[in-house]
């Protein structure tokens, strides 16, 4: 038997396997990020951090619908100046630490990214896609020109890889990807949650305190696969797939669409942190059965004419 090689390189970051902890999932403290890495994640992404502390929205912030979860947490975070303590607490982490940052202007993104890298982040992921906070995330990430300005501002301040996490709440995600890459983005993460809503019929009220939120989980997987496929046709940088991945089949599907790594989020609620190892084992067996030796060989295979 030939050993299957799961090692992946994303924009210069060496990962022992292609699974990553998605942003917004756990990712709040050094201890819990380390726990995800110990459980087998090939890289971990922090919860999004901005320049200033934010409380987020009142509860309910995370609820369950038929086909996934709906959340409007509202980007609570202690501000990057405090969060650097958590980043510094991970200096000895064995896998890449990617710090997700957001801002209300290109300058704010750049400053948060600079402080994150200074504290030891292996890379930054720009949250251009949170669908439920005014003035940041998807609201500004839907406009290719703004995406360009933000990526440019960040690239001019940091010397580590910059990932742009894009929103599916747009008419053309590949236009956004092209804008990000033109401005220097080293990789694209796709997708963030899809703007959505749920109403309780007994009390006649929207359930989320913020009324609108982002849908994750099974419902959005086909949307995410389509987005990754389109982006792969449009740009030439690594793509990190995200959206409804629960098992190795889902991960393989994203890779065939063009993702060289996958992020796992909501499914942790169902499978626990052992999900990373389970998905890796499943991918290995699949590769072996299909006669591949490295996980990199299947990236984008669905595009073959």
């Amino acid at each position: 038997m030939i050993a299957i090689d799961l090692r992946t390189r994303v924009a210069g970051l060496d990962m022992p396997n292609p699974t990553m902890l998605a942003s917004g999932i756990l990712g709040t403290t050094a201890d819990i990020l380390r726990e995800a890495a110990n459980a087998g994640a090939g890289a971990v992404v922090t919860k999004s951090v901005g320049l200033k502390p934010r409380e987020g929205y009142p509860n309910p912030t995370v609820i369950q619908v038929e086909c996934g979860f709906l959340n409007a947490v509202g980007l609570p975070n202690p501000g990057i100046r405090k969060f650097v303590d958590e980043i510094r607490g991970l200096r000895d982490l064995k896998v890449p630490l990617i710090v997700s940052v957001f801002g209300f202007s290109p300058k704010e993104y750049a400053e948060a990214a600079r402080l994150a890298v200074e504290a030891g982040a292996s890379a930054v992921e720009l949250n251009l896609s949170c669908p439920h906070v005014k003035g940041t995330g998807a609201e500004i990430g839907q406009d290719p020109q703004t995406v360009k300005l933000i990526v440019k501002a960040v690239k001019s301040r940091v010397n580590r890889p910059v990932f742009a996490k894009l929103t599916p709440n747009t008419s053309s995600i590949s236009n956004l990807a092209e804008a990000a890459v033109l401005a220097g983005a080293d990789a694209i993460t796709a997708i963030n949650t899809v703007r959505a809503m749920a109403i309780d019929i007994e009390t006649f009220r929207p359930i989320l305190a913020n009324k609108f939120g982002g849908l994750s989980g099974a419902a959005i997987k086909p949307i995410a696969v389509r987005c990754v496929y389109e982006i792969y046709e449009a740009v030439n940088v690594p793509i990190i797939g995200c959206g409804g991945i629960r098992d190795w089949r889902d991960a393989v599907e994203f890779m065939l669409a063009g993702a060289c790594a996958v992020q796992i989020g909501s499914a942790i609620a169902l499978e626990g942190l052992s999900i990373f190892k389970k998905i890796c084992d499943g991918i290995s067996k699949f590769l072996e059965r299909k006669g591949f030796r490295s996980v990199n060989e299947i990236v984008g295979l669905a595009h073959k004419k």
Binding site: G24, I25, L26, G27, T28, T29, D31, I32, R34, E35, K47, P53, R54, E55, G56, P58, N59, P60, T61, V62, I63, Q64, E66, C67, G68, F69, N71, V73, P76, N77, P78, G79, K82, F83, D85, D200, E202, T203, R205, I207, A209, G217, A218, A219, R246, D247, R249, G265, S266, I268, A269, L270, G272
Partner: protein
């Protein structure tokens, strides 16, 4: 085609009617409602309670009855709990859960130490321990007599099942004057217990933890942290490497030792800032 269930059964939101309300003391009420999943909760498990238009907060289940009703016992401390205590019979609340770990029933002799509404999960536990013929000693502590809860139930358990019950108040207005932990220390010095169960203010829990270490007694405690999702993904309620919502809320001695540096010392607030307790 794989049709995987992409949901957690207990996590579906159910909207239920308040069937009965009991006033425990001037600031604490117990609300009764009917929900099948909640009525199967173990002692120590919690639910997320949605007060439409206000907030959603975690609360321990304080009792379950075989006919399908359950209760939560809530003290007025903030906006959400105040709104809950002002609800009337027939009003609607949402519930998700039950979530998390339960207290495990011990053999032999148990010492239960509760402070404030920390008594809510412990009351359910005490009833379970009595059912399982465990020899139970209860110490309930409060600032003054007006803050004690479940006094009637505990007295009834004492008379009918021989549960040894002590009340302590800091001002001596009821029971033994002083802190629950001081009385606990006296008992631990001269008696042998197989298990300590505690819930209440975390400073009190920390003292109990230190005593349990000192006297080499096993301990189970229910901890509290700011909570959002209750299903182990949002990262709001972490304590060290654990999530209170899924790894807890009940922690045993093995795990408590791993998170010792946080216990009674630090927590992360709504913004994710590490703050002293």
């Amino acid at each position: 085609m794989r049709l995987l269930g992409w949901h957690i059964k207990n996590n579906m939101l159910r909207v239920v009617k308040i069937l009965d309300i009991k006033t425990e003391n001037p600031s604490v009420k117990t609300l009764f409602f009917r929900d099948e999943m909640c009525s199967s909760a173990g002692p120590g498990q919690f639910i997320m309670v949605w007060i439409p238009g206000i907030d959603e907060i975690p609360l321990s289940i304080s009792s379950t009855r075989p006919e399908g009703s359950s209760s939560i016992t809530v003290a007025e401390v903030g906006e959400a709990t105040k709104a809950l205590t002002r609800l009337n019979i027939g009003d609607l609340i949402g519930v998700r859960g039950p979530f998390g770990s339960s207290f495990k029933v011990t053999d032999g002799r148990a010492l239960v130490i509760g402070g404030g509404t920390g008594m809510a999960p412990l009351m359910m536990l005490i009833n379970r321990l009595v059912e399982e013929n465990v020899e139970v000693t209860v110490i309930e502590g409060a600032v003054d007599s007006s803050k004690l809860i479940f006094t009637e139930e505990l007295k009834a358990l004492s008379e009918n099942y021989g549960v040894r019950v002590f009340f302590t108040t800091e001002d001596g207005s009821y029971g033994v004057k002083g802190l629950a932990t001081n009385l606990a220390k006296k008992l631990l010095r001269r008696e042998r217990f197989n298990m300590i169960y505690t819930c209440g203010p975390e400073k009190m829990i920390r003292k109990v933890y230190n005593m349990a270490r000192y006297y080499s007694v096993e301990l189970q405690t229910s901890l509290e942290r700011y909570m959002r999702c209750a299903i182990g993904i949002c990262g709001s309620c972490t304590i060290g490497k654990y999530r209170v919502c899924t790894d807890g809320p009940v922690f045993d001695m093995v795990r408590l030792r791993e998170i010792e540096k946080y216990l009674g010392a630090y927590r992360y607030n709504e913004r994710g800032e590490k703050v002293p307790i």
